[in-house]
Symmetry: D2
């Protein structure tokens, strides 16, 4: 019963097969190989973006931080939700890669930036004043840190505010596939057509070993990005092994199937939790994440039975009275099974 993160799961057989296929023979290093070329073309087609540049790295933190740094000078400000992964969970990677830019936390319900909140933050940002860091970029997360999802319209509205202030938009799409299949639109509609300028397209949380693509819809920063990637130690020489995984993942829409399954497992879990009045779902489920308030005693019972998941927020604790509500963060993945869900709900039912 692993609900701690979708990054505790393995990879589907197709990914291993993709690695095997790419393993034959010598090929040029550093991404100058046929597999990378094929992947780039596949992603361009998928996103209906023939000019886009595609670069692979092995972690989401690298994808985000390199993308951010390519659009934000050291004296720049990146506007993001106060709970954003880049702000609280990457040990300052964006600050490191940008050489000291400032992340400006913006509040918002459901872990989403609203056009109003962004507009207010940008208006107050001190643009043009030499004493203030200068607004440079807006970074969104979809699925958000609370597992909610921007609708296409919401995404478009918040990007419009950024663009009206002359700022490009980065989207941290560590769970882009989960959001996409839930929203039911096309990759293009959910990215550049809505106003996203650069996307961290996450593969790791949805079935790859450690592969993320940075998709730059406007290639103007592409050369700078490549230098930053190399300098950051993120240019893998045997790059084909990243590309091969992602190609296999896109083949036959495997990535969408994996995401759909994870979302479906979360939906089943949600249905089960809703049967119990003492279990309170906190946010609107956008994909494969759930935040649920449970009596502290239930958490104990679940954890004693081997369920793995985090309390939320990070500093939450079970050192409290047995009937006090504590939030649990439950993440399903491509390899979560009916049996996992049933077992979790069974233990919970017994404990409530």
């Amino acid at each position: 019963m692993f609900f701690a993160s979708d990054n505790t799961s393995g990879v589907p057989a197709q990914i291993l097969e993709g690695l095997s296929r790419a393993n034959d023979d010598f090929v040029a290093g550093y991404g100058n190989d046929p597999v990378n070329l094929a992947l780039r073309d596949r992603i361009r087609a998928l996103f209906d973006a023939p000019e886009a540049e595609v670069f692979l790295v092995a972690t989401g933190s690298a994808a985000n931080a390199l993308a951010i740094a390519s659009y934000c000078p050291p004296w720049g400000a990146v506007f993001c939700h106060e709970l954003a992964h880049i702000n609280v969970d990457e040990c300052g990677a964006p600050e490191f890669f940008s050489n000291g830019a400032k992340l400006v936390p913006v509040a918002g319900a459901q872990a989403k930036l609203t056009p109003q909140a962004l507009e207010q933050a940008l208006t107050r940002a001190g643009k043009g004043g030499v004493h203030q860091v200068q607004p440079a970029l807006v970074s969104l997360t979809n699925l958000s840190e609370c597992g909610t999802r921007y609708t296409v319209d919401e995404l478009r509205a918040v990007c419009a505010v950024a663009h009206a202030h002359g700022l490009p938009v980065h989207l941290d799409g560590a769970r882009f596939a989960n959001a996409l299949v839930a929203e039911g639109c096309s990759p293009a509609e959910y990215s550049w057509q809505a106003g996203v300028d650069v996307l961290s397209l996450g593969g790791t949380k949805n079935g790859l070993m450690g592969v993320e693509a940075v998709v730059m819809f406007d290639p103007a920063q592409a050369w700078e990005f490549q230098l930053r990637r190399k300098r950051g130690g993120h240019l893998l020489s045997k790059n084909r092994y990243l590309a091969a995984q992602m190609l296999a993942w896109l083949d036959d829409d495997l990535w969408l199937a994996l995401a759909r399954h994870a979302n479906q497992m979360a939906a089943q879990l949600q249905d089960g939790l809703n049967q119990h009045k003492d279990a309170r779902i906190l946010f609107e489920r956008g994909g494969n994440m759930l935040f649920v308030d449970l009596p502290r005693s239930c958490h104990r019972a679940l954890q004693d039975a081997g369920a793995k998941y985090y309390l939320w927020p990070d500093h939450a604790s079970l050192d409290c009275p047995p009937d006090m509500a504590v939030t649990g963060r439950l993440v399903t993945s491509w390899c979560t099974t009916d049996a996992h869900i049933k077992e979790f709900l069974r233990i919970l039912g017994a404990a409530l």
Copy 2:
């Protein structure tokens, strides 16, 4: 006929099998998993270093830059050979990760630092003066950039100079295995017993997809390293896939067998080249790299026949008279075959 780099080769079947074995089930992320634990213990045993800490990253540049930054403050100086990979081929990764430290290039024949040259550089370094960057670290490369090898005695002597000045020693061991089997000593003798404080143990050039271990023989900097690794985007969540590869590589001394084969192929190539008076080997072969002067016309013939390798140094060119000598850099790998060597020599023989 791929002699461009050992990083253009694939991986042996055992590595793919190792990935498959590690793929079962959910495991904790970020290196807190049984495979990583097993690998750490294996490396400790292998190096006879029960206190050593072992951290995995996906590239050699990351291993080097993170190791260097953990021992060198922003105002520090890293003494290395002027041809060192960290100095000329990593787009400033050490400067980036150390937040602006200075690499001090030291000259030396055969791309090796001598105790004398290091002593002189350190004596002149301005230690204690506020106007000068402060000596912080010595970084060696073995095999060197010219394919030569430090003997155990040479390594010990140069480390002794560093230690006498209070500086720790980093060893860039991108081709550590190739050096080790050629030198015929133990991993411990060739690292910490000779004075190496932190080792970048390269797997990628010797049969892995992109796995390098940083082995810290003194664990004092281990926590700082881990924060730097995370902040640098180099902490893979599904870390087991790095560890699984390296475990499979160490199993049954596969890594040594792969390195021996690569070296043997280089030896055969060297023997063949030595048959031709117009082919002049430049440096003492230490493992699996050769630098050979050939008439420009031979390079043309080889390249027309599909041989892949680089001229050396980077700015060398074939825009010169046909009989002018130009240096080629030839690297063999674990999957170079007799047939590759013979074909190369055949074409060369015909051209000479």
Copy 3:
């Protein structure tokens, strides 16, 4: 009628005389001169801190950023009030000098950190987790950005929380003198005895041309600070001209007299404002700053008459209805005169 900032005023005659006295003859550069030595000893005596190290720089941003960087690694977190000058008015200087540390904004009434708010922020900070920046330093401002003042007891209480979490405390004392004379305690009581580990002692806003002293009560970081100062371009070769100003400023307690005068002028201004029911003072005056709500029409009248001051916060504007209240920020200085105050109040009275 200059109330924009205490840094728009000039310097007293004694400072120019101090410069003249120091101008004779050749002296050693970079602070190794008798004037600097005398100043260091004077400050040690003044603060009853015989081990303290004293370093001069020309700006408050440099003093703060260098002090912060000397106590905070790149992956560190600096806890400060959300309105702190270091957070909003230095264009990211702390992030630059610390190579990308994160400033964690903490809310608090009257622009002061409370022990409770700091305790909560530190408890939630994720210490020991590799995914989070690590708590490194607490930075306070006294006088605060809203012109309020920490009492000695308040200062002691908040420092105690920091120390209980193992964090040192930096005090941005750009207006330390103004706070000190208002609080009526000794420099030692108001700094290290209350728990301050490193102090930016501001001279510029209180009558110097551009001189700030960093006073390190614990000299352990002194050598690192000196290297950072040099590397930051903040080690003036003709350092005597900084020291000479500050010596003249300390002579005969001139610095205290200047601060007392500025505070007294603010008190007069406050008394005058309190005569008008439409003028509302926002915060408890701690020294020489006042924040006052006035009808927009009054601001227009004052500015038309040549009064210089800023609206607050920065993004405030007079594009609003005439009777809407807008906050003005009024700062008095050592050379503000009765006449300035009276003229300001006269115009205000006419406008109300």
Copy 4:
């Protein structure tokens, strides 16, 4: 007998008078004041560069590092002479301000870059390759570190090479005035007309307390520079005191008179040294610096008599046989007198 550096001297009376004149009344801070405006216009006229932007800082290291960072990205390479002050005497300030750029040392006789050496270095620099730092800037020093001087023709020739490779040129003019009066040309001829894009115009070594102007002949980078200056803590709030000094220095060509005097003192010293066959001048004197080989015993006699100067290079020592030649570095200044020179020569004559 202070010959250690021109920065051990004081300032002429005119500078103190300039400070007094600027001290009246309140003025706007941060350079938005009439004195700064007047200075900017004066420098524009002086250099016949009506579009130039002028920014003041208090140290030469700041001027150089900020100028360099404004033209060089973190992954950039700055080509400079191996002895350049920025490379060996600023504790890594250029690396700090540029966030980790690399200084590429180029050899050259008389501490000057030749067009040939620069051409070769640039040709080999790996432009366009992602593994190498990218050529970004050429930085020259005039007077050089060895006290030599670029002729206008030499300057033009080396700038032409830089421009042909698409690189701008920075000139470290810490002793620009000394070079200028010796060369006998106009400021424009010796800067932008020869190809200099950004100049560090040094005042400190030629009679100011700590004032350097960065003159950007192409203002495209001016806004970035201002943000970097603020972020670097180098924007003095009471900026008028920098501008007032430099204005007084330019008044009636005082700066040229001061430089001429210093040069003349060096010429007298040179004449005196040339009387002794055991004193050997090392480089062509370009202005106010001399490097002279003397028997070790002479240095002892001079130092015993109170002469202050450095041996050269930094690591030189008097721990050697009495008749061994050791190099002394002698710098004259605006306030060196005939008497100083005569006394120095007298002691030397007695010792030889």
